[in-house]
């Protein structure tokens, strides 16, 4: 049995190292030991699901998940519908009961995305409750829920159109009191599909010759709006997401294969480009939107 210790804090900052470890898994069944998990954001939750999926695919057997001991963390996970999704990925000894009631900062529970109907479902769910959180916690105008929905729609369509495999999306608001002194919304969208290099390869790899790889593929899509479709109207989704995230002074990062590329605001010290990561299937997208200053 491969035991993969889930770090105490699993969020946008630690998720790369965790996925690197999963990328190196050999044969034999895996046990994801999350007993000591103390903090998890949507990136961490969705990363657990993609990690379990990759382990199962590689090892031909469903991995086990030891759930966190912390009741607070179990509460977060339950509110985000993590266990509903995890049941399809992991063997779970006990599935904590869903807790209801009380005010929540959940903008979007963990939602599986495999088809266009799922994108409609995501937009529908966000419409129901996100507006209040965006205006009360982030100080965004009431109409920002439209742009927020458009971001989610485009980023989820990236899975449907390009990944060739299912993925998940989730979004939640947090008070980043120590880190930023204000609220943020964290959006995570991850899949275990073919990734950017493969998706764009047929159309663009020849032009890049032996420079073609995960980094150049991410640059092509993220910076230049290239897509595998010849149609001039395609490839604008990521470009427009970047533009809207920049307007809100947010951060966006995409990992695919061995590279990660990002658009980094002044409050974030993440490097804009990282390569040399362990090869991990699919694409993992993180978006962080901070509250307006003074909120």
């Amino acid at each position: 049995m491969n035991v993969i210790p889930v770090p105490g804090s699993l969020d946008h900052q630690t998720v790369d190292a965790f996925l690197d470890e999963v990328a190196l898994l050999g044969g034999g069944r895996s046990l994801f030991d999350a007993r000591h998990l103390r903090w998890v954001d949507p990136n961490g939750m969705v990363a657990l699901l993609v990690a379990g999926t990759v382990a199962a695919r590689r090892q031909g057997v469903v991995p086990r998940l030891e759930v966190p001991e912390s009741t607070d963390v179990l509460g977060y996970l339950s509110r985000m519908a993590f266990f509903e999704a995890a049941r399809d990925v992991f063997e779970l000894e006990t599935v904590p009961r869903r807790r209801g009631g009380g005010p929540s900062d959940v903008l979007l529970e963990i939602t599986s995305v495999a088809a266009n109907a799922d994108v409609h479902e995501v937009v529908e769910r966000v419409q129901r409750g996100a507006g209040a959180i965006l205006s009360s916690k982030l100080g965004y105008p009431v109409t920002s829920v439209v742009q927020f929905s458009v971001i989610l729609s485009e980023v989820c369509q990236n899975i449907v159109e390009h990944a060739g495999a299912a993925g998940w999306v989730a979004a939640q608001a947090y008070n980043w009191a120590r880190r930023l002194g204000r609220y943020v919304v964290v959006i995570s969208v991850m899949d275990v599909g073919q990734g950017f290099r493969s998706s764009l390869g047929d159309e663009h790899s020849a032009r890049y010759a032996d420079r073609w790889g995960d980094t150049t593929a991410l640059e092509a899509a993220f910076l230049h709006g290239l897509t595998r479709f010849a149609d001039s109207g395609r490839g604008q989704g990521i470009q427009q997401i970047r533009r809207q995230v920049q307007r809100w002074n947010g951060a966006i990062a995409i990992r695919s294969g061995t590279a990660r590329i990002g658009q980094v605001p002044e409050w974030d010290d993440t490097p804009p480009l990282v390569d040399g990561l362990q090869p991990f299937p699919g694409a993992q997208i993180s978006i962080i939107l901070p509250a307006r200053s003074g909120t």
């Binding site: 937009v123 419409q127 439209v146 929905s149």
Partner: protein, 193 residues
């Protein structure tokens, strides 16, 4: 001389969205949804005469993403221009602030422009256009109708006249084939509003 206007066609996109195969969905998101709505619009245009002016009403649309805007607006316009059997003109209605950026971006991306009502009875040119085209379009829009005789006084320069020709060619204004007068599309669709 009385000009014969194009056949007027009213298209309520919100209602169309509910009536088409996408009846379960309330929002204009995803390419397949956009494609279905565009095909429904094209079916409506097929029964119009050889020249039509459609009012594409987005008033009831709450969410419009870039993919859907590309299918419903930009590809609709592009395909219509490529059809030699039918001369189609369009005016967009109900392009409020939350939709404006999406429409602007998808039109620019394909080098297209559109006449759009962006607030009550206010029309703008969205998409790709140059300064001279915007001036020529603004003049026609302000006057509603410009006769051939007035053109030399209103647009004395060759560049301005060429810009007017381009906005007619791009179907951002309508030139009557009988009188040669140039009509603002916003005035021609008044009956539908």
């Amino acid at each position: 001389m009385t000009d014969v206007p194009p056949d007027l066609v009213a298209i309520d996109v919100g209602r169309l969205l509910q009536r088409t195969v996408t009846s379960l969905y309330a929002h204009l998101v995803t390419r397949p949804t956009g494609r279905a709505v565009r095909m429904a619009i094209e079916a409506q245009l097929q029964v119009a005469g050889s020249r039509s002016l459609s009012l594409i009403d987005l008033t009831e649309v709450e969410i419009l993403d870039f993919s859907c805007a590309d299918e419903v607006v930009a590809k609709l316009f592009e395909d219509a221009r490529a059809n030699p059997a039918h001369e189609a003109f369009f005016v967009l209605r109900g392009v409020r602030e939350p939709h404006r950026d999406q429409i602007q971006v998808v039109l620019e991306r394909r080098g297209l422009a559109a006449v759009a009502e962006t607030s009550s009875a206010t029309f703008e040119l969205l998409g790709a256009s140059d300064e001279a085209e915007r001036r020529a379009w603004g003049l026609v829009e302000e006057r509603g109708l410009v006769s051939d005789g007035e053109l030399s006084a209103l647009l004395p320069g060759g560049e301005e006249r060429a810009a007017l020709e381009r906005i007619v060619e791009r179907r951002l204004a309508f030139r009557s084939p009988t009188s040669g007068r140039v009509h603002a599309l916003s005035r021609l669709v008044e009956r539908l509003m």
